[in-house]
């Protein structure tokens, strides 16, 4: 998938068409199609546990891509993405419960509603940038979180809201096996859309705003509109991801959507690679699998008998937070371009082997 960033040496493009392709080569296209087809058969073989992990990766990955469009492509930092994710979850439950709209329609509607809210909070972004924006979105995070606790008509207050399972043509997607397909479809659709957006006029405008906003303005790009649009698109993705999350669990409660979640989304895109569509997915996989690996490590240490396993398991939540914090710092210091960049380097190493440098 295209990334519109630095390319390794020896990777030439001779036409604009080649430069803006969604799939760089025929091989990548085939590999993508094949892996999606292979994933379609996954529920037949895989354990429910792995399906749950995949579903988690897909709804979080969609939201992470949204954040990467805002942070990585447009250069606007946001610390309120977790709250928008939660807003999408509540909005979809609210729309389908109170207006008797089928769930498959309420998910995109929730995306649109989240988009509207995101643009409202993005309004200050038209004037401010950098750390002022970080602080403005930080307050958006707290205000929306407060709204969840307060607005009982919307979120059910402290009781939370029930969300019906997705149903289409009389089929109920309420088990892990069936929801897997909903998640897979949403993931592929949103990622293709994201890639396509980035090669369009709007996507190039986002990148121009990030790279040098003054030059972008001189070239005729309306800064206010594109900053706002970027906030809108990012919140739309967060809303869709959140809505999927809500309908998957069947229940949404206000506790989870904290600043911690927003930071986790930021961690995903930093680890994956800022300004890379593929990176958002890689980072999400990393962050979703991190606790699993930690858990395995803890049980391994426990089995050797060096430390008491009971206390380690109790503190697993803290280890997870510490690990995420540490991973953010280490990636920023040692690999600021993230996993996507590393992947590209590995690829180009083999592509031009033995002449790569």
């Amino acid at each position: 998938m295209i990334t519109l960033s630095m390319r390794p040496c020896g990777d030439f493009r001779t036409t604009y068409k080649a430069d803006t392709r969604i799939f760089e080569t025929r091989f990548i296209l085939l590999a993508t199609i094949l892996s999606v087809v292979a994933l379609c058969f996954a529920p037949l073989f895989l354990d429910a546990y792995y399906l749950t992990l995949f579903i988690q990766i897909s709804y979080l990955g969609i939201a992470a891509l949204g954040l990467n469009i805002l942070v990585g492509f447009t250069g606007q930092i946001s610390l309120g993405h977790g709250a928008f994710f939660g807003f999408g979850a509540f909005a979809s439950a609210w729309i389908s419960n109170s207006f008797a709209i089928p769930v498959w329609l309420s998910i995109p509607l929730a995306g649109v509603l989240t988009m509207a809210v995101g643009m409202m909070f993005g309004l200050p972004a038209a004037r401010i940038k950098g750390l002022y924006l970080a602080i403005a979105t930080l307050s958006a995070q707290f205000i929306i979180e407060d709204f969840f606790a307060r607005a009982e008509w919307f979120s059910g207050g402290s009781y939370g809201a029930a969300a019906d399972p997705v149903s289409l043509f009389g089929m109920n997607f309420d088990s892990d096996q069936s929801f897997f397909y909903v998640a897979l479809f949403a993931l592929v659709f949103m990622y293709l859309w994201g890639t396509n957006l980035m090669r369009s006029r709007d996507g190039r405008a986002f990148v121009a705003v990030r790279d040098h906003y003054l030059s972008a303005e001189i070239m005729g790009i309306n800064l206010t509109w594109y900053r706002l649009l970027s906030f809108g698109v990012s919140s739309f993705y967060a809303g869709i991801g959140g809505a999927l999350y809500g309908h998957y669990l069947g229940f949404v409660s206000a506790e989870g959507f904290t600043l911690m979640m927003s930071v986790q989304f930021l961690a995903m895109i930093i680890i994956g690679g800022l300004g890379s569509v593929q990176g958002a997915l890689l980072g999400t996989i990393f962050i979703v699998l991190l606790p699993e690996v930690l858990e395995a490590t803890v049980s391994l240490i426990g089995s050797t008998g060096l430390m008491e396993p009971g206390t380690l398991v109790e503190n697993l939540a803290y280890f997870k937070e510490m690990a995420i914090g540490l991973v953010i710092i280490l990636f920023l210091i040692f690999e600021p371009d993230g996993l996507a960049h590393r992947w590209k380097q590995i690829k180009s190493y083999w592509k031009f082997y033995p002449f790569a440098y």
């Binding site: 004037r127 307050s139 407060d146 600043l259 911690m260 937070e321 510490m322 914090g325």
Partner: protein, 297 residues
Amino acid sequence: MNTELLLQLTINGLIVGLLYGVIAMCFVLIYKSTQVVNFAQGEFLLIGAWICWATLVWLQLPFWLGFIITLAFMTLFGILIQAIFLKPMIGEPIISVIMVTIGLSMFFQALMKWIFGVSAQSYPQVFETSTVTIGGLNVELAYIMSLIFSFLMMAGFYWFFRYSRMGLAMRATAFDQQVASSLGISVSKVFAASWAISAMVSATAGIVMGMVNGVSDALSFIGIKVFPAVILGGLDSIVGGVVGGVIIGVLENLAEFIDSQYLHVGNLYTIAPFYVLLIILAFKPYGLFGTKDIERI
């Protein structure tokens, strides 16, 4: 209208606000001299308060010794954080620098939870707690102590930046790094010193707050509450930080008053500063005393 409650809350607001002001001052100190927005300021309070608590409760040391150990530890801690994590980030985009401090904040918050647990612990009795009556109002002695502490810290900062060699070097560095280093000021020493001072003073504020309310995870949230204060005052103004802190402290308590007397929505206390923050950012993003960014092409 309940005048007595209003007066009580206003005084509470002033006292808490002055403490916010001290923390805001530390925040601004780091921002001004090293251009780093420190999202881990709250963790300085948390770590300082826990270390002091540990020396008092676990090691059974007298307060003055525990306090000195805490200060020494925090000085070292601030210098190490700057040298290990923030030095490599010089020249990186602001998003990366912010994210490093967020990562630090997350790491240390979880570490403290792991070591000390999540439940609030109260300090052993260090000073006699009693209430004094001033003008018909009951004020806790701990509050008076924190008031004195705040004024001492502010006076100290004033003296430091006005007369001391290091303070002058810091002001010069904040004004122009290149010029400062060509005049023989060691910029890396200034960076280390500003982190050390900030960590130390924040930790002291954390201990004071811990004595009043007990030490718990909630202390690190103060680091986030400081943002409305510094934005209101202007991000690069130390005076602004203090003024902003006092305003936010009073505002919080006024919101509490309005909430409890008229609106009854609950929880307005914590959320009001953030609404104010959004309004300030929309209309006066550089705050009351901040310098406006002027960009050249």
